[in-house]
Every structure is written in C-alpha cells, then in structure tokens.
Amino acid sequence: MAALRRLRGSNNEGVLALVLLGLIVAMSIANPTFFTLNTGFSILRSAIVPVIFALGVLIVVITGGIDVSFAAIAIFAGYATVSFCLNAGFDPGLPGIFAIAIGVGASLGFVNGIVIAQFSLPTLIVTLGTQGVFFGAMYTYVGASYYAELPGSMAALATSNLLDVTTSSGRAYLHLLVVPVLLLCLLVAWVLKRTMFGRSLYAMGGDLEAARRAGFQVKRTQVSVYMLVGALAAIAGVIHIVLSRSANPRDLVGGELDIIAAVVLGGASIFGGRGSVVGTVLGVLLVQVIKNSLLLVGVPSAWLRTAVGVLLVLGVGIQAIAARRDSRRMRVIEDLDSAQQHEQKVGS
C-alpha cells in the first residue's frame, strides 16, 4: 500500500507517467509512423523551450501566484539581445548572449516582483498588465523587424546535435540543447527540495501569513521568484530563437496557455503549495505528445488550442475532485483507527 502510494507520487506523477506511456502505446498501435526515433527526438526538441518556461511557471505557481508575462519577457529578452548584437555588429559568444538576455529578463521580472510584493496585488492581473507593457515596449524601443540572420555563435548552436542516428526511416537528430535543459531541471528540482529558498516557496504557497510569521522574508522571496521566472524566460527566449534560426518578435506570445496547462496537468496546484519538477516535465511531454498525435491523426491545427484548453480544465478539475475525496477518506480512516484502538484496549 505504502509502496503503491510512493509509486503514485505526491503529485500523482506516477499516474501521469502511466497516462503518457499509455498514450504513446496507443498512438504507436494506431499509427506505426508515430513510433520512430524521429518522432521521439522531434517531440523532445519541441519540448525544450516549453520545459524551461514550465520550470518558471512551476516556481510561481508553487508560491500561490501566476505569471502570464513570461512569454513576453522571453521574446523581449531574446529579441533585444539579438537585435543589440546584430546592430552593434559584435558577437559576444554564447555565454555573453545568455548573460545579456538573463539580465534583461531578470530586470523585467523584477518589475513584476516589486509591483506584486509592494502593493500586494493579484498576480494574474499584474502580469497580464506587464505582459502588454513589455510587449509594447519591445515594439516601440527595440523594434519590430524580423531577423533572418543570427549572430554567429547562435547560428552555430542551431545546428549542433547531441545524437545523429541513421534509422530505417531516415536520419534522426537529437538536439544538443536537451542537455542544458536537463541540467536546468535537475538544478530547479534541487533548489526546490534542498534549499531553504525552495522550501520557503512551498511555505508561502501553503499559507502566506503563516510564512511571514515563521520568519520567512516573504516580500524579498516574492521579488526573487519573479526575477527567477524572468531569467528562465530569457533563457527560453534565446533558445527559441536559436532553434527557429531567426528572431521574430511576434513569436511565443500567445502560447502561455500551453505552458500553464502543462504545469497544472503536472500536478502543481493552481492554489499554491504543490508541484514538482518531475510532474511538470511529464506534463509538458504529455501536452507535446497530444498535440503531435492530434496533428498526426489529421486534426486541424486550429483545434489544438481547444485540446489544450480542455486539458487545462481537466487538470484543474481532477485536482479539485481528488482533493475533496482525499480529505474525506482520510477522516473516515482516522476515525475508525482511533475507535479500533479503543476497542483493542477494552479487549485486552
């Protein structure tokens, strides 16, 4: 029983993994072209950017907030960095490019954090507002033109593969960038589990006032969280530009729902205090696989948004129902236990 519970995971990660596996098996049976290394690698590649976004969203959601400005921050940071490098005609190399973008992203996140922490405003409204502000600011001050050429270091990264396998159905490439993303996942998981900063996020999501009373520096942490989301978004923004081999300021914004749905499907509670990296990654993969399968079976892409919307509602619904049933079952078991203990005492 206990072992079973562990397998299920504290946020139903086990269930999610099963669903994912089931879906893959079903798709492979229905359509043999699905079950190829090619599809696998391309799904992984398409998950790189969403996973980074999702890590950021996971962090805010754990604290009980939400950030919908991450896509705007990502494209702002990525596009501004590229535009700066191209216009200045100098390539600072990948570390430099990422450093500039992260600086920009963290600063924009800082704006979110300060407004939210200082004025205790609802996080959804604030980030909805700043999303528009950031996007508008990019158009006005950075520019709106499309760059088909990237700085040399980024262009080189675009074509770097980790694996290059020749299969019967053609060659399959696994992009190099899955490695840093994996490392990033491990890092965030470690921070969440093994640092006081990580634990403070869960504490704040559980009860903000209690967190304050327990001595956590709630406001400072809130600001850091939004800066962190900004930084992660910036990384995702740069990687997105690398992977698409061009910088288009119209990209990314509008895809927030996919990420939030993935995080919620991954078991993070929209009410705060719950969520894990494993669940989040599984959630992202599930969304990618579903989108991929729907395309493969010929569902028009316009319906994909509907599908993601349904997934989001499903995820939240399952959470709510499970929470209610759990609390009821726990109570009954506990009452029975205590009563049985009494009976045993009488018997002896």
Binding site: M196, R199, G206, A211, S327, D335, L336, A339
Partner: protein, 504 residues
C-alpha cells in the same frame, strides 16, 4: 499596573511597554504593558476580542503597534518583524496555529528553526531527528510524514506546540494552546511547561479555561476591551475574581434548566444505531425543547454519532426517526432536509468563509428560507436575520460588514453559531459550542440555547466541558468506547458525576 512586591524585581526577558493599536480607527489595545520574566508563566485573560491575540502578534512581530515599544533582553524596538523576534528567541503558538497545510508534520515542526538559524540549505534527513526528539519529550505519537492539512484539529494543535518547543526559545507564547487537547495531553503540556520554567524560559499563556490559568501561571494580567485591568501574582486571584475582572460583573455558571416536559413529542428518535469501528447500538430519544448533553472522552465515538445523524458518515445499522417519521440519513442533504443542523468541531476551517463579511456568513446557510414567491431574495428578511443574530449573539465587531478574518477567535465562533441558528433547525447539534469562548459569553451562548429550546428547538450539545453540560442540559448521555453507558438525569447531573462516568 500593580508591581511585584518582592524586594528585587527580576529582569524581564521581553517587555511590551505602552502598546496601543487600533484597526480602522477602532482601538484594539490601549496603552498595555506586560513583562515576561524568565522562569515564570504569565497568564493573559480577558473576554473574546479584548486584544489578547493582538498583543501577542505585536510582541511576535506579526502586527505593528501604533505606539509603544518592545524590549527584548534590554534592547528597545519600536517595532520588530517576525524574523527578528524569532531570532531574539521568541516563539509563538498562534491561536489559528499558522501551520503550512501542504507540508508534512516534520517540516512544519522544524522549518521555523531552520529559517532562524539562517541556513541556506535544507536537508530532510538531518531535521527529522529534531522533530522526533520533541515528539518523544511530549510522549506524542504524530505521524511525521503526514501532511498537516490532513490532520485533526487536535493533531494540528499538537504540531503547533511542537514547533514552538523545538526551537531553544527563551520566551514561549501560547495563545489558547489547549482548545482541542484531551486531559492527558493538557497535563503533559503542563508538565513540559514546568520543565521549561525550570530551564528559565519565560512563558506567556492565554486560555479561557480559568482552572488552567490558575494551575499553570505565577502571574496574571487581565484585560477588558483593549485595556489592562489588573496585573499581579496569580495567588491573589480565584476563578470568581478573575471572571469579575474580565467581565466587570458577577458571572453565574450555576445550573439553570427549565422543567423538561416529558410528554412533549420526540423530535428525534435513534434506535440501535451502529457504525463499524466507531460506535454500537446507540439508542436515545430527544424531546421537543430539550437540551441533551452528549459527552465522552476524545475518540469515544461522540463525534461520530453526531456525524452519522448529520449524514457525514452514515450509520451502518439502526433507525433514525425525526418527528416520528423514519428518515434514512445517507447524505448531509438528507439531514438538512430533515431539518437537522450541525455545528462541527473544526469550525474555523470548515464552517466559515473567512474573507467574506460577518453578514454573508450569517445568512450563508439560510438563504433558501429568504426566497420570495418570485424566487428572488428578500433583502428585508435577510437584513432582519443578520441584525437579529449580530446583535443577539453580541458579536464584537465595528459592523456586520467586517470580514470574518478580522474577528477574534471567540467572535468568529459566534458567527458560526449564528449561521446555524439562522437555519432554524428542529434539531441542532453543536460540537463543543463554547470552545475558545470566554466565560462571560459562554454563559450568554448557553442562555441563547435555552431560549431557542424554550421556543421548541431540540438541542444536542456534544462537549467534554462538564460545567457547561451541568449549566444547560436536561439530560446527559455518556459515551464510552462507542457505547452509550450512562444516561444522567436531574440531580445526577453534577460536574463530579459527569467526569467520573466519562473516564471510569
């Protein structure tokens, strides 16, 4: 303020001096001063809403005072934040526990200490022994891996207590730490308090149970409406004088019970009710207008019986008749349709919408009865109900629009009561109706139940507070290990008999 008469006044570890605080113009504290002296338990007593918790929150840095200073170890602060207070060695068991429902018991216990230590890394393995040690010291058996949100109120309270004790605090403040505890747990806590005192810890203790106050403390401060009325060695007080200082009047806890009309029809008839593992073969009748006490130790099955009658955990066997008619109660909806009301034990988390106003909470359960012929709500009717209970229950708030979260613990309790009274049930079951309610209001609440009973409502009071049962009940049922063992009537209902039958 009267000072101690010893030759050399001991130096306090923490003092609050001249603290004033008002909320939206309404003063909650006016020039209050209090000293916490190492090796001494200082009790804070006063009616609901007199400002005890507010004073505590100011000392612990959870609220800012408007004026006054907090002196810790000789250093004066105009205000402190929670972090500084904890680092200064002050630990608080808050009235609302302030735990993290999504974290495990172990984490809840150790997390504050880890924050205070300024550590950056967290290792689940290394904090576990600390949590285990404190459980052993208190002889508790809490499951350290359970999430706090899944615990019973009593276990939550125990977790909050452990958390305060796991830090090597120099001052421990306990805001009504015993409301959900059994006698054994209370005596263990008090034994621990003695040990802490011997170690030189300064303690501040708040309770509405005056016998606890007298048993545990060496010094007493009594407050009324945000002002300090009197301070002095506890030995100079007795229950009577404490309640007089608290309320400004004599409080009458004596038995006032109307003659029960035994020919009155039975409002509720329970026969051979059983629920596997909880209780067995319980049969009793409840007359119209009767106040029936149901008592027993924690875990005796008293709560489960009430929950079955309310359809929360339906009984396996037996019959329930309401007004002579057989009603199968399988769900809460069944019970509500049969006009049975239930005020649960864990009111603060189950019974209230904390962010909503008092008014909204009062009418939350009775909106249906205010429907007009056209299906719209009758504003006038709703306003009357709100006013009736807001005034009738003496809810202490600037007005009925104040959110329930801003109420003192005892006043929040009255709002729950008002909500259920407003549904005008034929049978109203109350589980611990006056836990955390001050002695003066307790009498008022009991009086209110008497009035409702006289008007024809049948009331079941589930409680282990013997004086309360004596004060109001026509009959008292004693439940032991899931069985109805005694039915006390008339002269048999005394504090001693009840306590004896309960535990014997």
């Amino acid at each position: 303020m009267t000072s101690m008469t010893t030759s050399q006044p001991p130096t306090p570890f923490v003092s609050a001096r001249g603290i004033s605080k008002s909320f939206g113009g309404v003063p909650a504290l006016v020039n209050v001063s209090i000293d916490l002296i190492p090796g001494e338990v200082h009790c804070l007593a006063g009616e609901n809403g007199c400002g005890k918790s507010t004073l505590i929150k100011i000392i612990s840095g959870a609220e800012r005072p408007d004026s006054g200073e907090i002196v810790i170890d000789g250093v004066s602060h105009a205000q402190i934040n929670a972090h500084a207070a904890i680092q200064g060695g002050i630990q608080v068991i808050y009235q609302d526990f302030s735990l993290f429902p999504n974290l495990t018991v172990a984490e809840n216990i150790v997390l504050t200490a880890e924050v205070a230590s300024g550590r950056r890394l967290y290792s689940p393995g290394s904090v576990l022994p600390k949590a285990k040690a404190i459980l052993q010291e208190l002889e508790l058996d809490l499951d350290l891996d359970r999430e706090v949100g899944d615990l019973s109120v009593a276990d939550k309270q125990l977790t909050a207590i452990c958390r305060a004790l796991v830090n090597d605090a120099r001052a421990i403040i306990m805001d009504e730490p015993t409301t959900a505890l059994t006698h054994t747990e209370v005596s263990r806590l008090f034994a621990l308090v003695e040990r802490l005192r011997a170690r030189g810890v300064a303690l501040l203790f708040v309770s509405h149970k005056l016998e606890e106050v007298l048993a545990v403390s060496q010094r007493l401060t009594i407050m009324r409406s945000g002002r300090q009325v009197v301070s002095g060695p506890t030995s100079e007080f007795d229950q009577r004088s404490i309640s007089r200082h608290m309320t400004g009047r004599e409080v009458d806890e004596s038995r006032v019970v109307s003659d029960l009309d035994l020919t009155a029809p039975l409002a509720l008839e329970v026969s051979k009710l059983s629920l596997a593992g909880a209780y067995r073969d319980v049969s009793f009748g409840l007359h119209r207008g009767e106040i029936l006490g149901v008592t027993g130790l924690l875990g005796s099955g008293r709560t489960e019986i009430a929950e079955s009658l309310f359809g929360v955990t339906p009984a396996d066997e037996g019959e329930i008749r309401v007004g002579g008619k057989l009603v199968p109660i399988r769900t809460i909806q069944d019970a509500v349709t049969a006009r049975i009301g239930y005020v649960p034990e864990d009111r603060l988390s189950q019974g209230l919408f904390l962010e909503k106003s008092i008014a909204d909470n009062i009418v939350a359960a009775s909106l249906e009865s205010h429907r007009t012929r056209w299906g719209t709500l009758s504003r006038a009717g709703i306003a009357t109900t709100i006013k009736q209970y807001f005034v009738g229950l003496k809810i202490n708030a600037p007005n009925a629009q104040a959110p329930v979260r801003t109420l003192s613990g005892g006043n929040a309790q009255r709002v729950v009561l008002a909500k259920w009274l407003a549904t005008a049930p034929t049978v109203l079951m109350l589980n611990g109706p006056t836990v955390g309610v001050d002695i003066g209001s307790k009498e008022e609440i009991l009086e209110l139940l008497r009035v409702e009973a006289a008007k024809g409502m049948s009331v079941i009071v589930i409680s282990d507070d013997a004086p309360e049962l004596v004060a109001a009940c026509h009959r008292v049922l004693v439940i032991k290990q899931g069985r109805l063992t005694h039915t006390l009537e008339g002269d048999q209902i005394t504090v001693d008999t009840i306590q004896e039958r309960m535990s014997a």
